[in-house]
Amino acid sequence: MNLSEIARKLGLEVRVGQDALTAEVRGGYASDLLSDVLAHAQEGDLWVTLQTHLNTVAVASMKGLAGIVLVNGREPQADTLEKAETENVPILVSPLPAFELIGRLYGLGLSGMRT
């Protein structure tokens, strides 16, 4: 499943990275501590978070994540958007709280576990 399909099914709005939506999403990771994401997220994961700081883009890029979804209606900061544009990291937003959004992602077949 790619990001564009997920966005359509769950009504996620794309704020940046329209060109990178065809990449395959291989799983999911949820955390608001960037040190934890650096340590535990896996390549191809869709990252669910409420952190809007600029550093999220570097973390996503470094780990090869499929994209970032901001929950609870949070919007990326201007500098974050700019950096994401340069790095080609998709940032999507959802009005849903994290628990709900992750449940729906799971329902689509995404998992936080890799075998």
């Binding site: 501590l33 960037l34 040190s35 952190q51 700081h53 550093n55 570097a58």
Partner: protein, 237 residues
């Protein structure tokens, strides 16, 4: 120039997580006994016990700087250490304008306002343990706007540190230094000055970690020059 040994991160009884024994005169007394020449008061998101501690310090002969440990919206703790009382109050106003919620003393602890004799003179009802709505960059900008020094607190701890919250120290933040508890973690840029301070919440912790500065006077601007290593000022190692 003289060697000034400083503990730049001490809480008072205003911080909900600090002991009631952390009254202005008690902190000053213990600070002197431990051989410190300078302390900074950094309560969570408030500076309301600073003036009383400065006065207690004047009586007892210990230099006291006003500061705050400000929580950014990413839940990063940053120490702001200010040149004077007015600067400290102005920065506090900005933090208060971006700090929501009310304290629940049973859950988080009492937030006691004390005078220079150590008597309780009131309570602060704000949720001081909470996060402000200011981004890390805005916190540092606010500290600098009022002439303060911005030091990222306890960067080697697993919580509330810039590295735990944001993975690494962003470039161009404009920090004046980082505070380390035990070991400087990997990823701290070489050019960022490192200080050690106690983060004392109890009297016995005061001065347990300290930093030596070679400065002309125990003031915030002098400490700033020592952090930058200019005009003969420097950190003593």
């Amino acid at each position: 120039m003289k060697e000034v040994w400083a503990d730049l991160h001490i809480h008072t009884c205003l911080s909900p997580c600090a002991e009631r024994e952390m009254s202005p005169p008690a902190i000053v007394k213990v600070g002197r006994e431990r051989g410190l020449h300078l302390i900074a008061i950094c309560d969570h998101n408030s500076a309301e016990n600073v003036a009383a501690t400065v006065r207690a310090g004047e009586r007892a002969g210990l230099a006291v700087l006003g500061g705050m440990e400000i929580t950014s919206r990413e839940e990063v703790h940053v120490l702001g250490i200010f040149p004077d009382d007015q600067a400290c109050r102005s920065a506090q106003e900005v933090v208060y304008a971006h700090l929501g919620g009310r304290n629940d003393p049973e859950t988080f602890g009492e937030q006691v306002l004390a005078n220079e004799r150590g008597e309780a003179v009131g309570r602060n009802d704000r949720l001081l343990i909470g996060a402000s709505g200011l981004s890390l960059e805005e916190v540092i900008g606010t500290i600098h706007r009022f002439g303060g020094l911005a030091i990222a607190a306890h960067v080697d701890r697993p919580s509330f540190s810039v590295i735990s919250q944001l993975g690494f120290i962003p470039r161009g933040l404009g920090l004046d230094g980082v505070e380390v508890c035990s070991e400087k973690p990997p990823g701290v840029p070489e050019d960022l000055p490192v200080v050690r301070s106690s983060d004392a919440h109890r009297l016995e912790e005061i001065g347990s970690r300290r930093t030596g500065f070679l400065v002309a006077r125990p003031t915030a601007p002098e400490i700033g020059m020592a952090l930058r290593g200019i005009e003969g000022r420097r950190i003593v190692t």
